[in-house]
C-alpha cells in the first residue's frame, strides 16, 4: 500500500517536474509518546510532536537531549521502546527504513565515493526502478536546483564539504520523499557556507512543500529556518513554538536561557507571585521554583539603564551591533549583565561610566533556582 502510493507519487513528480508542488501537498507526521533508553540513560522520555503538512520543525537542544534519537526513530534506524510514529495517520513503526520513503541528509558526508554526483542523486530513483533516461533527467534537474549542474560528473572527493552536502540534499529530495530528515547537515561546514546552505535548504523546502524535521544544536540555525522550533532537554520537549514566540514567551526557564542571550540576576521571592531584584519588584512568569534563593532571567533588551553618578554598576564593555549597542555592566555583588541600548543613545556609555540598571517595571520575568558561580 505504502509502496504503491509512493510509486504513484514518483511518477506524478516526474511528470510534473520538480518545483511544481505547492504547500499543502506534504505529509503530516505525528510522534506519539516516544520513549527510548540506552542502558540506564533515557534518551527519549515521552516525546510527542505533531507536524503539519509542509511544515519545517526544528528540534533544538544541547547534545544528549535526545533530538537525534527522535530523528533516527522517524527514519527507522532506531526503534522506540514505546510510542509510535504516524505518517499521514498510519503507524510506520514496523516499516523498515528502506521502505519509509524518507529522504535524509546526514551530519557527516554520506555520498557514495564510487559514484559521481549525478549517480549519487539518481541512486534512489534507480532503487525505485525508474528508467535510465528519466533518472538522469531528474537527477540533473535536482543538481541544477542546488546549483551544482556543472559538477554532475565529479566524484565526491573532488567536491568541497558544502558541495557534498548540497549533492546529499539533492539526493534526498530526488526520491520525492514524504518526509525530509536533516541531521545537523550544516555542522561540518564553515560559517560562510553554512549560511548560504541554510537559506538554500529553506527555499527549496518551501518550494517543494516537503514536511521536514531538522535536528540542530545551533539556535540561530533553528530560529532562522524553522516554522516551529521544539526545544528539548533530557529527552523531553520543553516547548514547541514559532521562533518569535519562543524568544519572547518562553514556557520554561530552560527555554528562556537556552534561546537567545539571557542575564541572570540574583533576586528574592516575594509573596503573591512577585520577585525583587535590583531594587524593583515584578511579577513572576511561569513556574515558581521551590527554593528561596533564585535568579531572575532577563534579556538584554528587558533591562532599563540610565547614566547616573554612583549607580549600581560600572560599564565594562561596549559592542556595536548595528541599530543597537550591547553594553556589558559589572553590578555590585559581582554580577555581570548585558544591556541593549539604541546605538544613537549610547555615546555616553563608554567603559568606566557609572550607570543605574533596573528591571523594567511591570514586566513579568522568569525565575530559576540560583546558580552558584
Amino acid at each position: 500500500m505504502t509502496a504503491n502510493t509512493a510509486r504513484e507519487r514518483d511518477a506524478a513528480g516526474i511528470a510534473a517536474g520538480t518545483g511544481q508542488a505547492g504547500p499543502g501537498r506534504g505529509t503530516s507526521v505525528r510522534l506519539q509518546d516516544l520513549t527510548r533508553s540506552f542502558g540506564a540513560t533515557r534518551a527519549l522520555d515521552g516525546l510527542s510532536i505533531e507536524m503539519a503538512p509542509g511544515e519545517l520543525v526544528a528540534l533544538l537542544g544541547p547534545s544528549g537531549c535526545g533530538k537525534t534519537t527522535a530523528l533516527r526513530i522517524v527514519a527507522g534506524f532506531e526503534i522506540a521502546d514505546t510510542g509510535s510514529v504516524l505518517v499521514d495517520g498510519k503507524d510506520v513503526s514496523s516499516v523498515p527504513a528502506a521502505k519509509r520513503d524518507m529522504g535524509m541528509v546526514f551530519q557527516s558526508y554520506s555520498l557514495f565515493p564510487n559514484m559521481t554526483a549525478l549517480d549519487n542523486v539518481a541512486f534512489g530513483l534507480r532503487m525505485r526502478k525508474i528508467g535510465a533516461s528519466q533518472r538522469r533527467q531528474r537527477a540533473g534537474d535536482l543538481l541544477d536546483m542546488v546549483g551544482l549542474a556543472p559538477q554532475a560528473g565529479q566524484y565526491p572527493h573532488q567536491l568541497s564539504g558544502g558541495q557534498q552536502q548540497r549533492v546529499a540534499l539533492a539526493r534526498a529530495l530526488a526520491i520525492e520523499p514524504r518526509v525530509l530528515l536533516l541531521d545537523e547537515p550544516l555542522s561540518a561546514l564553515d560559517a560562510k557556507v553554512r549560511l548560504q546552505l541554510r537559506e538554500q535548504i529553506r527555499t527549496l523546502q518551501q518550494r517543494l512543500g516537503t514536511t521536514t524535521l531538522f535536528v540542530t544544536h545551533d539556535q540561530e540555525e533553528a530560529l532562522s529556518m524553522a516554522d516551529r522550533v521544539g526545544v528539548m532537554s533530557h529527552g523531553r520537549l520543553e516547548q514547541i513554538a514559532a521562533p518569535d514566540e519562543l524568544y519572547t514567551n518562553p514556557a520554561t526557564a530552560f527555554v528562556a536561557e537556552f534561546v537567545g542571550v539571557m542575564n541572570r540576576i540574583p533576586g528574592e521571592l516575594q509573596p503573591g507571585g512577585q520577585v525583587t531584584a535590583l531594587g524593583s519588584t515584578v511579577p513572576i512568569r511561569g513556574q515558581r521554583p521551590d527554593e528561596a534563593a533564585v535568579d531572575v532571567l532577563v534579556r538584554p533588551e528587558g533591562l532599563t539603564m540610565e547614566v547616573v553618578e554612583n549607580g549600581n554598576g560600572i560599564v565594562t564593555t561596549r559592542t556595536f551591533l548595528g541599530s543597537v549597542t550591547r553594553v556589558g555592566v559589572q553590578l555590585s555583588g559581582d554580577v555581570a549583565v548585558q544591556v541593549d541600548r539604541p546605538s544613537a543613545e549610547s555615546a555616553a556609555l563608554g567603559p568606566g561610566a557609572s550607570v543605574s540598571v533596573s528591571l523594567t517595571a511591570g514586566q513579568p520575568v522568569h525565575v530559576a533556582p540560583r546558580q552558584v558561580s
Binding site: A98, Q158, L159, S160
Partner: protein, 282 residues
C-alpha cells in the same frame, strides 16, 4: 573557529606532506636499492643461466605440467572466491553491529599464521569427511583457512576507510535493501580491498608447498619439486616461468585496482594495507 577570516575558495587542497631530507640521502637510497636488487636478481639470473633458454620450450611438453598448473589455478580461484564469500559479510557485520568484537576477530584471524601448516594439514586430514578426501575441494578448504587472515586484514582496512554506518544508512533511506546496499554501494567501494585480498590469496595458493605435498596433491609447486629430481634444468625453467606468470598476474591486478581507485579518490592496492587519501575538506 576562524571562519570569520575565511576567504579561501571552497575547495580545500590537502597540505603538502612534510618531507624530511637528509644530506647524502640520495646516495644511501641508491646503495640500498642496488644491494636489494642484487640480492633478489642474482639468484634469478643464476637460475636463468643454469636452465638455459632452450629448457623453456620443453617445459610445456613435460608430462604433468598442464594438469598441475590447472590444479593450482583451480585451487587459487576456489580459495579466493570462498574466502571472500565468507569474510565479506562477516567483516561488514562485525564493523556495523559488533565493533567491540573487532579485536577478537583480529586475534582469531592471526591463528592460521602462527600455527604451522604441517599442524594444520595433519589436523584437517584427521577430521576431513570421506567424500572430500582426494578432491581439490579439501585442499582448497584448507587454503581458505590460510588465506583468511590476509583477506580479513585487507577488508578490515578497506572498511575502516569508509564511514560505513552513514553510507549504509544513506543507502537504506534511499530505498536500497541489504542486498542492493552490499552489491551497489559496499562492493564497489571495497574494490581496492577485494583486489588486495585476491592478490594475497592467489599468491599464497600458487606458492604453497607443504600442505599440498603432505596431502599428496600434485599442485604446480609440488610438480616443480618432483620434476627437479629428474630434470633439474626443466624444473628451474618451470619455476622461473611460474614466477614470471604470477608476477604479471599480480601486477595486472594492482594496476587495474589503482587506476579505478585513483578515479574515485580511493587508495592504491598495496599488499598489506589499503591506504586511502583523505580528501575531506573543512
Amino acid at each position: 573557529m576562524a571562519a570569520v577570516t575565511q576567504t579561501a575558495p571552497e575547495r580545500i587542497a590537502p597540505p603538502p606532506r612534510p618531507r624530511i631530507v637528509f644530506r647524502g640521502a640520495t646516495a644511501w637510497r641508491w646503495t640500498i636499492l642496488i644491494v636489494a636488487a642484487v640480492y633478489f636478481l642474482l639468484p634469478l639470473w643464476a637460475a636463468l643461466r643454469f636452465a638455459g633458454i632452450s629448457a623453456f620450450g620443453s617445459v610445456i611438453s613435460e608430462p604433468g605440467f598442464t594438469s598441475s598448473l590447472a590444479l593450482s589455478v583451480r585451487l587459487a580461484v576456489i580459495t579466493t572466491l570462498v574466502t571472500i564469500a565468507l569474510m565479506l559479510p562477516t567483516t561488514v557485520y562485525v564493523h556495523l553491529r559488533l565493533p567491540r568484537l573487532r579485536r577478537l576477530m583480529e586475534g582469531i584471524t592471526i591463528l592460521p599464521i602462527v600455527i604451522p601448516p604441517v599442524v594444520l594439514i595433519v589436523g584437517v586430514l584427521a577430521i576431513a569427511p570421506g567424500f572430500l578426501k582426494g578432491t581439490s575441494w579439501l585442499l582448497a578448504l584448507a587454503y581458505v583457512v590460510l588465506a583468511m587472515p590476509f583477506t580479513y586484514r585487507a577488508l578490515d582496512a578497506g572498511l575502516r576507510a569508509l564511514d560505513l554506518k552513514t553510507i549504509v544508512e544513506a543507502s537504506n533511506s534511499l530505498g536500497a535493501g541489504w542486498l542492493s546496499t552490499l552489491w551497489r554501494v559496499l562492493l564497489p567501494n571495497l574494490r581496492t580491498a577485494l583486489l588486495s585480498a585476491t592478490v594475497l590469496s592467489v599468491a599464497l595458493v600458487l606458492g604453497e608447498f607443504t600442505m599440498a605435498s603432505l596431502d599428496l596433491y600434485q599442485t604446480f609447486p609440488v610438480w616443480i619439486y618432483v620434476n627437479s629430481q629428474t630434470s633439474g634444468q626443466v624444473s628451474v625453467a618451470a619455476s622461473l616461468l611460474a614466477l614470471f606468470v604470477t608476477w604479471i598476474f599480480l601486477l595486472g591486478i594492482t594496476v587495474l585496482g589503482t587506476r579505478q581507485s585513483r578515479k574515485t579518490g580511493g587508495g592504491a592496492v598495496t599488499l598489506f594495507t589499503v591506504a586511502r587519501t583523505e580528501t575531506r575538506g573543512d
